[in-house]
Symmetry: C3
């Protein structure tokens, strides 16, 4: 890409301050940026690095621009501008619109125009791939799967039978969509766990991104639903029949059990656990590694867990934690005596 | 499937109440069921939905059947009946008994009768696949692996060399069985971690189900053992040399370290952590996201963690948690003074 | 392998005590070892099992050798000797140096001498595979990826475009390196999350081992860096732009968010969570399932969480935990009154 700062400002429709003729070769953070790279000031706390950065230019808020010694683009939301600029410098290979000859495509599968199918991918009977979508190498697309238009399914993804994906869905490598939910019932007569067939499906909306190694199970008594604009990080687990509301973002390694309803515009941290059969309201934020063991009916920020401490201190404290109930009663007893 | 309610009752050997001639097209939950679907009442708490359901019929317990306005099948254990009925409506493709021509099968591999091998699967030297078993597309079955009869290995599964699976084992997509356990020893002379070869294997019993993305490591000084009837959900991790007793069920994202022995008929919740070299008795239940940091010698239900709360309250409480030991001593001091 | 105890002692350059002519067929733990197997005494706590072991011989420390009734090899660090001995008995198939005819290798990929490419692997344009390295069946190696020498990439691994691996790197099945980091910014104008292209890469040093199902994301404003000698267990998640220092070991299912710097020689337990944008010093140890929510500036051992207890007791205690702040104030009140 051959672009100068002025052209970037024009593309973003933002104000340029300083020399716009500098050629921009890429983007980088404030500390590592080289003399031909554009950088960003996201928060005032990093302003000290702006004084020493080698960057060619910076995107920052007007209120942070005072005293800036390098050319700048003024943005009301530098992180959003970052999103717009980064795409210009992305080296990610573009799908070539070819069906690789090593791919195994069932004659009863339907491929729309400009579909890319990678090497050794497998497309099974009745599957439909929408226009401009790309299926990566090594993917397995099961029977009757529907993939919308302009989707990007990366390598080695598995889509089980009858799954549906909307438009502009990105799925990262190794994700598995539509495996059986975890459903068993104990049969006292045989002393074994009887499998409950998971006969429903997974329906994924438009503009969803699904991380590497993430698993979304098919439903048992209703479909698992992932709303429009949902973003799932890597190694997330979504149980059978669970619903995730539109534009909710869920960070890595979070485990969500079955039949739970999560609202829209939630921000769920990494390594969170959410139990089954509860409801979480819209705009709920859950901090990293919390356990959500009951419904949340009001928006807000929620947490669980204990703070990190040195292990030797922690051991003393958890001994007391195990007797907290008794400690409370001892305090009550004292209060009664000295009332 | 073309079946009416009376035929379903007969297959389940259960009592029918009301009109058995209604054609059943599928199953669904109480709220979503349509006029041709069968539903279930699992607990009395949902009985209000029975009054408004559009379902054609319901399976419920005798004590919940009073006043039921739709045809019903009486079951002592509706969830178990659900397991039996759901299988009737499963659209999961049945293995076709074919070896796909794109599969790469070593000449020294042994395939029994009626084995299905999916497209682009790889079966290495010395592997044995039992009768009626199916290996999904993109799977890699390593050297000397033994797969029993009537197993179902879904797409993109990796079985490392020398692994053994019993009969009727289901493995979901992306699972990895037999990777090296995590074994290193620090060598002070070089300042590096020296790898300890993981020379043992993984032995999996009969009727085991293994979830998508689950990983089970091979042993270092003894085999990793998964007992008969064990059910592992998605993204479970089983460390090297660990044993899981028969009919134990482990929910998603639970991590179990090495050389630990877990009993039979345990119910282990999601996102639980279990450390290495401990023993857990039979019939132990662990609630979601607990850490098991010592052996459990008696059956029962165990937990760890703190309850979820609003983050601002949580922050105040964890400050106190870090001083719990001191708080206890202050209470003791007060008690001494006002004795 | 046909080797006797004396030859093993010579290979390890360690002292032999007793009859060295016994043929050793393999290694096993103290309890399970058969009469032709070599075993190990790692800690004095297991010495009682030494009296009853059926093993042919044992490797132990000099201070534990007293009264040992079987032939022994004296080692200052038996676990390290185990590492050296185990490799002798490893049945792991050795790469055969062949390019499987079913592999799909782009004409613009570069394969060095003695490279092994497994069946149905895909090597894309511009990828370079160093000498003596092996790419397993079903792997996808993206465009411009560089793999060093003597690497072992197991089955069904995905390496995204432009990733770099050093020498002697082992990657286990199903791992995904270089998927997009989780980067989005909320656009109030559209009410949606805008994707931030993740344009940097992942750079992995020498002698790194990466577990099954582990995911390492590519960076957004700088490369994700995995130092020399780092060992990552299964299902670990490394966020975009994060750095892991040399010779750090991270156990299974640990989730590390983005832009965090982890020091060298750290030992991070299983199922730990580490938030974004913090720094962890060298030689820090984190116990299993802890949440690291702030930087750690000094070496030492750190923990969070509560101890495991019976669920009924736990429920009572977490009620008090939620009021800890108030409890502290009640104790202060009492102290004020009886001063």
């Amino acid at each position: 890409l051959d672009i100068n700062l002025k052209e970037i400002a024009q593309r973003l429709n933002l104000e340029l301050v300083g020399d716009g003729s500098v050629e921009i070769s890429g983007i980088a953070n404030l500390i590592d940026a080289s003399a031909t790279e554009l950088t960003f000031l996201f928060s005032v706390g990093y302003k000290k690095h702006l004084e020493t950065t080698s960057a060619a230019a910076v995107i920052l808020r007007r209120e942070d621009a005072d005293g800036c010694a390098i050319p700048a683009i003024i943005s009301p939301q530098p992180r959003l501008s970052w999103g717009h600029v980064a795409a210009l410098f992305d080296r990610e290979p573009v799908p070539d619109g070819n069906i690789h000859p090593s791919a195994v495509i069932h004659q009863a599968a339907k491929l729309s125009e400009n579909v890319t199918i990678g090497a050794n991918a497998v497309i099974e009977s009745g599957a439909e791939i929408g226009p401009d979508s790309a299926i990566g190498p090594g993917c397995v697309v099961g029977q009757q799967v529907i993939v919308g238009k302009n989707c990007r399914i990366n390598a080695n993804v598995t889509l089980y039978h009858h799954i549906q994906l909307g438009d502009r869905v990105i799925v990262h490598a190794g994700a598995v969509i539509g495996a059986d939910g975890f459903g068993f019932e104990f049969d006292g007569a045989t002393g074994t766990l009887v499998k409950i067939s998971q006969i429903y499906s997974v329906i994924i909306g438009n503009d969803v991104e699904i991380g590497a190694g993430t698993t979304i199970d098919r439903g048992a008594l209703n479909d698992t639903l992932i709303g429009d604009g949902v973003k799932l990080d890597n190694q997330v687990q979504i149980g059978h029949g669970t619903q995730v509301g539109a534009n909710t973002a869920i960070s890595g390694c979070t485990a969500i059990a079955g039949s739970t309803k999560i609202g829209s515009y939630c921000l769920i941290g990494g390594a969170v656990g959410i139990i089954d059969n509860i409801e979480i309201a819209d705009q709920v934020e859950i901090t990293a590694k919390s356990l959500v063991s009951q419904s949340i009916t009001e928006k807000g920020r929620y947490s669980s867990g204990t703070g990190l401490m040195q292990s030797k201190d922690w051991k003393r404290n958890i001994v007391v934690f195990k007797k907290l109930d008794k400690l409370l009663r001892r305090v009550r007893g004292l209060e009664a005596k000295i009332r």
